[in-house]
Symmetry: C2
Subunit: 390 residues, 2 copies
């Protein structure tokens, strides 16, 4: 475990097929006026909305609704939410949905009472709220597993005018106070969204895993999570109502990105940076932008982190090491990842997401480049990876 760090995660998780029964009680700790944020209205068709409204009534809350949060929530939508939260002087925000809805709720939470340009300050300049600044507390009812937004401070906002999609990671004061995790709530999700969430979760783990060559407990935990996600995903794609598989995926997604497996180590995050740039250009589903560039990206950086990729093959994919060079083993691990992407039906090609060869230069230029993985990429290398992903 490298360096000095603080682990603090105050989010309380209510998990299980009756998790929503805790919602009314959980809400009692917060003020009367609740801003209810959700997406396109699928929660009205699958019964989740009714469950939530019943709990809000039981808890004696006054409800202001803010529907219509899109996937890849935008700055314009953020500004709309900011006004609604402020004009209604809400005490609490309840986000009901997947990562986009919860990310958006956190954005409204910090932006509502900030008078300046919140996009500029929190996302572009990556500043943090200061002590004393008013943050509206957030709670979450999760309906899609994958992003981990239910137990962290992450909030990705898209600015289409600027072709920018930026993730901000807020501190524990912005983490949801609680999250209701009922795996059954994810059953009605379209297959494509379920698969995108599964890959998003896997990608979060890989982004933290493929960095550093030290021996760290965090990487062993990451391996355990990856093994579980792989096993459960293969069940879930055939039998989406398999509770065991869906509950494992939901739990793994939360723990894949709640800071635990990234503690005491460096992290990569270049797949997400490329994926965000693709998302800014195409509005494609986040998880699919990741799956479609991962294989080319990992093949490209493999030689710079050979022993970690060999370990990935051996421990995560159970590939026998005997008689193989480290390079061969490492390469077979990435083959296994590519096979798995096909098996679960995640996107393998960015062309299927609407990326054209003409967009590649722009996407590469829009990609924020970090230097914590096995190889600091140049824009030319990103273009090469994108061309291999077409």
């Amino acid at each position: 475990m490298k360096g000095n760090f603080v682990y603090a995660n105050p989010t309380k998780l209510y998990f299980g097929d009756e998790a929503q029964k805790n919602l009314a009680d959980a809400l009692k700790n917060f003020g009367k006026k609740v801003l209810l944020i959700y997406g396109g209205g699928s929660i009205k068709r699958n019964g989740v909305y009714d469950d939530v409204i019943a709990s809000l009534r039981t808890a004696g809350k006054e409800v202001v609704e803010l529907p219509g949060v899109m996937s890849n929530p935008t700055v314009d939508k953020l500004n709309e939410g900011r006004v609604v939260a402020r004009e209604n002087n809400v005490d609490f925000i309840l986000a009901v949905g997947g990562g986009s809805v919860i990310d958006y709720a956190k954005a409204v939470s910090v932006a509502a009472w900030y008078d300046g340009d919140a996009w500029e300050r929190f996302w572009v300049k990556q500043e943090d709220p200061q002590p004393g600044e008013r943050i509206i507390p957030v709670g979450a009812v999760l309906t899609m597993a994958g992003t981990g937004s239910e137990m962290n401070g992450g909030s990705v906002i898209t600015n289409h005018a600027a072709n920018m999609k930026i993730g901000k990671v807020f501190g524990e004061e912005v983490f949801p106070k609680f999250a209701v995790l009922n795996p059954v709530y994810t059953f009605s999700l379209p297959h494509y969204q379920m698969v995108a969430g599964i890959f998003d979760c896997m990608s979060h783990i890989m982004e933290q895993y493929f960095s550093g060559d030290d021996d760290s407990t965090s990487d062993y935990l990451a391996e355990g999570l990856m093994r579980s996600v792989i096993a459960s995903s293969l069940v879930a794609v055939k039998d989406p109502e398999n509770y065991e598989a869906r509950s494992n995926i939901m739990w793994s997604s939360t723990w894949a990105l709640n800071t635990l497996i990234g503690e005491g180590k460096t992290q990569d995050w270049m797949v997400h940076m490329i994926g965000h740039a693709i998302g800014a250009y195409t509005n494609a589903t986040h998880g699919m932008t990741l799956s479609s560039v991962s294989v080319a990206y990992y093949r490209h950086v493999m030689k710079y982190g050979l022993s970690r990729f060999a370990r990935f093959a051996r421990v995560v994919w159970d590939i026998p090491a005997e008689g193989k060079s480290e390079e061969q083993l490492a390469s077979e691990g990435i083959d296994a990842l590519a096979d798995w992407i096909k098996k679960i039906g995640a996107a393998s090609e960015i062309s299927s997401l609407g990326v054209t060869p003409e967009m590649i230069d722009g996407i590469a230029d829009a990609t924020i480049i970090f230097d914590a993985g096995y190889k600091k990429l140049t824009p030319d290398e990103i273009k090469e990876i994108l061309r291999h992903s077409l």
Copy 2:
């Protein structure tokens, strides 16, 4: 993930070789009068005491000292601490030491302002504190890795007069508010204590792992932790000042017993129950009571949970499965565990801890029997396991 559960862990962890620099700040959130609890005084020789006193001064605290907490803290010592806490009307308890000191601090925390017989109520009858009852908040500075007490509600107290050693698991209101985890603080620990802590940690993981035959993310996380503990322990026994190994062991120990890897599954805990009975009779070091009965216990229950033991061999110990029966593979996993116990120098025989054949009936009768592992033991089976462990 089976059943419905709540995950809430409010303990804030300061980790790293400079973790103690956060102590003064962490203390600022609590009242002026601090009860400083520690053990036999080793912290005065290794500099930890000086670090802590300096931080208490910086934070402007008034300090009342309560030294002399023994391993396996007793009811008599608890009653002493209760009086000291109460007479001095302390606002906060700072525990500096290993699991015994932190367990003891939690016991004083709940017992101080309870007027009746705390041992009878909280440990024998396993009751919880009620809302509104006064609990003194606890913080911890860890000097020995193993028990996990720094991030959970566990508190094991021994009553020698009754030959009873009972663990109580309190709720989140009794968890330490924060814990300072500096791996360097564990460097001066005697080798025997380090090894006992390592086995204690491994045993916590195995107690949660060897139960249930479902596919659960928790078991995959457990496998990751076990792999990390095994790898780092083999380094640490040869090179106790290897920071990487000791930091992994410290972090793994915390996560082995902070509720995470036990969520959504049944758990066993029979090795601990037998170990506690041995401890009540002999006052042997906790971790060594566990190591000396584990192999006989697991050989005894193996056939009732064969597929889990085979998985343990394959995933945790990397034993090739090819061409082997499940039984053979499972058995080789327990062989590997036995080898590892010898390699790290943990106790393999209860006779080395002072257990005589004459004690066996008494220890078996004093063992609390649970029914959540692969086989509910009878007292006769416990006697057999103890005889095999002599």
